[in-house]
Structure formats: C-alpha cells, structure tokens
C-alpha cells in the first residue's frame, strides 16, 4: 500500500502538547518537512525561545538549545559563527522577537546572518496568559490592554516583515498564515524557500507566520481561524517582501 502521509523525520514521536486549535503544531511540522526536504536534519541546530514554544526542543528531532527571552538570534549567531556548516534556525513568538528581542532580531538581520527565523505572530503573549504583544491589534482586548489596545498610549502593532525587509542584509522575508489549507500550502513553500536561502548561503531569511491562540483569544479553534482572517490579515498582509533575487 502506498503511504500518503507520515511523520517527518525531523519531528520526534512525542505528541504535541500545545492547546487545541493552536497553530504551533502546523508550523513545527512545516519546519520539519523543510529540514527533511533538504536532508539537513543531522546538521541542524534549532534555537527555541521563551514562550509556549520553549518546548520545541522536545518536538524537533535535531540538536536544540533554548535561548533566553528574545535572545535567540544572538544565540543563533554564536552557533552559526562557530559551526558555519550547520543549518541554524530560531523559532520565536511575537513577544520574544518583536518586544524583548527587538535589538537582537534587527541586528542579526542587518548583519545578514545566514540563519532562518520562524516568527510566530499570534498577536498575544501565550505562555504568560494573554497579555498585550507588540503585534496586538488596535482595540484588541488582552489582560494588559483590558479596554482594548489604545494606539495613543500603547502604539500601533509592529509590522515585523515590512520593517526588516528595509534592511539591506536581509535575503528573504515573507508573511504567511495557517488558518486554511491553501494558506498552509503557501506557508510550506515560504518556509522551504527560507531554508533554501540558508542552504545556498544567501543570508538572513525570515518567515512571519500569522497564527491563532484560541485559548488566550477566548475563541474556539474555528472562530479563531476566522478572527485571524478577518482581523489580522487585513493589517498584516500576506506575501513575499524580499527574495534573494532582489539581493544584489
């Protein structure tokens, strides 16, 4: 019988422990498939963040390290510099990457570090229980914006993909979503392209993945997907912002 679906080699057999409807599982799988596609699992070193995906080290079947909150791009820099032949990726949430780790991501991108960053943007802090993230939408209610995010005092949500694509050292940036199969197929392509960028030594690559957090959004998984499409995508448009072809 022909096998049509199997677990990627780059994932362990441990079942995901993420909440129902959370997109981490899909994102993990897409990363693992890309590692499998390039046959690089055995030379990959992944860096997990502080946040729900701190447990990514359990699920990826490759060498893994956990960084301090926001510091994954600096840790990845140290790894890549000392093991230039390895494939290095960070997996970071929005609080990690776009708040406490802003300096690290901007400068790793600006140095053109030949690493791949998977940036999970779900517009909220998950692990700490639903506080405002730098990507929380205007008006969105969280524990620390209980009356809705007010841009007058809390600023506007940061568009990471757009911001980083202004940097000359960056080779590949795209924004994808995981709320429906068509998007997931596109996301798979984008993540593969990001790793390809690294495999070919072309420089810094980042995929911003719009994701749900049903638990902290207070929605069912299906409602969460709908909310993402109706509220996040209009503000965080999908697509490629920079490709290696544009890099001279």
């Amino acid at each position: 019988m022909k096998k049509v679906f199997e677990r990627p080699k780059s994932l362990t057999k441990d079942p995901f422990t993420y909440c129902p409807g959370c997109h981490h599982g899909i994102a993990h799988r897409l990363v693992a498939e890309a590692l499998d596609d390039f046959g690089v699992r055995e030379k990959t070193i992944g860096v997990c963040p502080v946040g729900c995906s701190v447990f990514a080290y359990v699920f990826f079947d490759c060498d893994m390290i956990c960084a301090a909150h926001g510091r994954a791009p600096a840790v990845a820099t140290g790894i890549k510099k000392s093991k230039p032949d390895s494939i290095v990726f960070t997996y970071q949430g929005d609080g990690d990457l776009a708040s406490i780790g802003t300096a690290e991501i901007v400068h790793a991108a600006n140095r053109g570090e030949n690493i791949t960053v998977i940036f999970i943007n779900n517009a909220i802090y998950g692990m700490t229980g639903g506080q405002m993230a730098p990507t929380t939408l205007v008006g969105q209610v969280t524990q620390t914006s209980p009356y809705g995010r007010d841009p007058k005092t809390m600023g506007y949500p940061i568009k990471v993909a757009e911001m980083l694509s202004t940097l000359k050292g960056v080779a590949y940036i795209s924004r994808v979503a995981l709320s429906k199969p068509a998007y997931i197929l596109k996301a798979k392509k984008a993540i593969k392209k990001a790793f390809q960028t690294q495999v070919e030594g072309k420089g810094f690559s980042l995929v911003e993945v719009l994701s749900t957090c049903p638990t902290n959004w207070g929605l069912s998984p299906i409602e969460a997907n709908k909310w993402l499409e109706e509220n996040m995508i209009p503000y965080f448009p999908l697509g490629e912002f920079k490709t290696p072809e544009e890099v001279s």
């Binding site: 055995e42 060498d63 390290i65 956990c66 300096a103």
Partner: protein
Amino acid sequence: MGEKILMKGNEAIGEAAIRAGCRFYFGYPITPQSELTAYMAKKLLKMEDAAFVQAESEIAAINMVYGAAATGVRTMTSSSSPGISLKQEGISYIACAELPCVIVNMQRGGPGLGSIQPGQADYFQATKGGGHGDYHLIVLAPSSVQELVDLTMNAFDLADKYTNPVMILGDGLIGQMMEAVEFKERKKISLPDKERWALTGCKGREKNYIVPFNLDPYEMEKTNFKIQKKYNELKEKEVRYETINLDNADLIVVAYGTVARIIKTVIDNAKKEGINIGLIRPITLFPFPDKIIAETSEKINKFLVVEMSLGQMVEDVKLAVNGRVEVNFYGRVGGVIPTQSEILNEIKKYLK
C-alpha cells in the same frame, strides 16, 4: 621559553586567549577594556575557522557566547562593570546549561555609569552569582600582566574541566598597564570530552539538547544539586592564593588584584619602620581561600582587608575568620586607588 615582550594587560588577555585556542570572541566596546575587543578583531578576522562579532549590545554578546559555547568551541567575551551587569542574564543561563566560556571584567568605579578609573566593587556580583538563581562562576583575580596571561590560559582549561563559566576579574589599571610578559609553553592536560553534550548536528547519534530550565521543580532542584556538587569540588581542588610573610607578621592584610600589588610595596616600606606585615592574596575569589585565612587567624590576631570597594571581600574574610579575631577594613571607591602611605597609616592605627 618564549621571548619577553612588553604588552598592555588588555591585549595580553587577547593573545593568551588565542594561544589557549579561543577562536570565537563576541564583544561590545567599553572603557577600560576596549583594547581587548580591538585586539580580537585584529587577530580573529584574519584567522581561519574563527569569528569576531561586535555585538549590538552586551546582552547579545553574552548570548552569542552561549550559542558558540553550546557547539563546544572555546569562546570569550569581555567588558567592564556596567557592561557586565547587562550580561548577567546570559551568564545565569550559561551556568545553568553548564557550558564552558570565559568572561573578562576589567572593573571600573561604580555604581551606575560610575567612572572609568579602576574599581573592585563588582566582587559580590562576580563571586556570589551575579544573575538570578543559585550559581557561581570560577573567579580568577590576576595582579600582574604576566598573571593575566597565565590565568587567561588557565581559565579556558578550568571552564572545560568543570563545564562552568570562568570570570577573569581585573580592573582598569591592570588592563591599561604594560608590563613584560612571556607566553610559556603549556602542559597539555586531559579534559573531559565535549561530544556528549555539544551541539554539532545529530549525525550518527541521538539529538543533543541544551535547556536551562525544567518546569518540574523537583527536577530543577536536581539540576541545582548537580551544579552545587561541582562548586564543592572546586572548593576542594582549585583554591589558589599567594602568601607573603605570614610568620612573625604583626598584622595580616588580605587583598587581591591591583590592591595586593600596592600592599607589596606597603610591606617593603613598613619593614623599614620595623613593622612586619603579612599578605594573603586570593588568586581564586571563587572558590575563596578561606582555609588559609582561618589557619592564619589562629596565629595572628590583627587582620586588615583592603579593597577598591566599601567592603565586599571583607565579608568572606570575616566568614573564614569566624569571629576568632577582629577584621578591619579600608577601602577607596569610585575609581580612586588607595595609596601606599594611606594604607600604612591605616595599618599603624591597628598596631597601636
């Protein structure tokens, strides 16, 4: 035997580190240690299989060290007091992950932005952990440029042997000073294999992972106990100090680093006035040489601790002496270096 060369302390550390096999340096400019960062840039950027990164911040620099150390290479960062404060988060992670690396602190006057002149007021931070959680660095306190060289080389071995970060705790004076140094041939020592934990890609083995956390408190407690065992071993095996004139001394001075040098001149000058002073100079600040201090306090009942702080190492001396004799203190801070004459005057007060 190498040739004697005249070298600035900061540059001598760089050369010693490279000779000890350090090829990966991550740093950020700060006075009075910037020459070290510049030296590493000059050398490492021209070497094969080596890297130098001027990081965007001290925080990034220590985390780059964390990443590089995780792959099993010899790596280092350096800074001065305010910058070392910024590194504390990363240092705590590295200590918890039990990774080897070397951190240099060329201390300046504090607190806050402080001054850029020499200080020793980071003693607590260096020896008691510095960041969050129960951990210690191995802390080495050189008092000459030659010792800076020898201890830097040694630091990498100690880091590998104990899989623990090692701090070289100097100050602006020793970093800026030039003295004659010799890079001696080093004995090869056998060190534990890094392969069992280093992140090198999982080809032909199970994956390795480095995670400085455990959400199960009982498991996290075990991690603490494991690290603690290492500290006890350090206390047994790695304590180092220098003593001068302990027999027949009228008074014992305990001082480290730059201040200990000044005390050596004080000892010579005091002798001319018929005063016998002894010196205990801790070379390892952690593990602290408490036994020799305790033993000496059985014989000599006057102790003076001199520091460029308002009283930090004196607490460890008091713990070692354990109330047997009175321990006095003299300190200057903010970048002020105590002079030999003011120290001698202080000593005379206690000898009346």
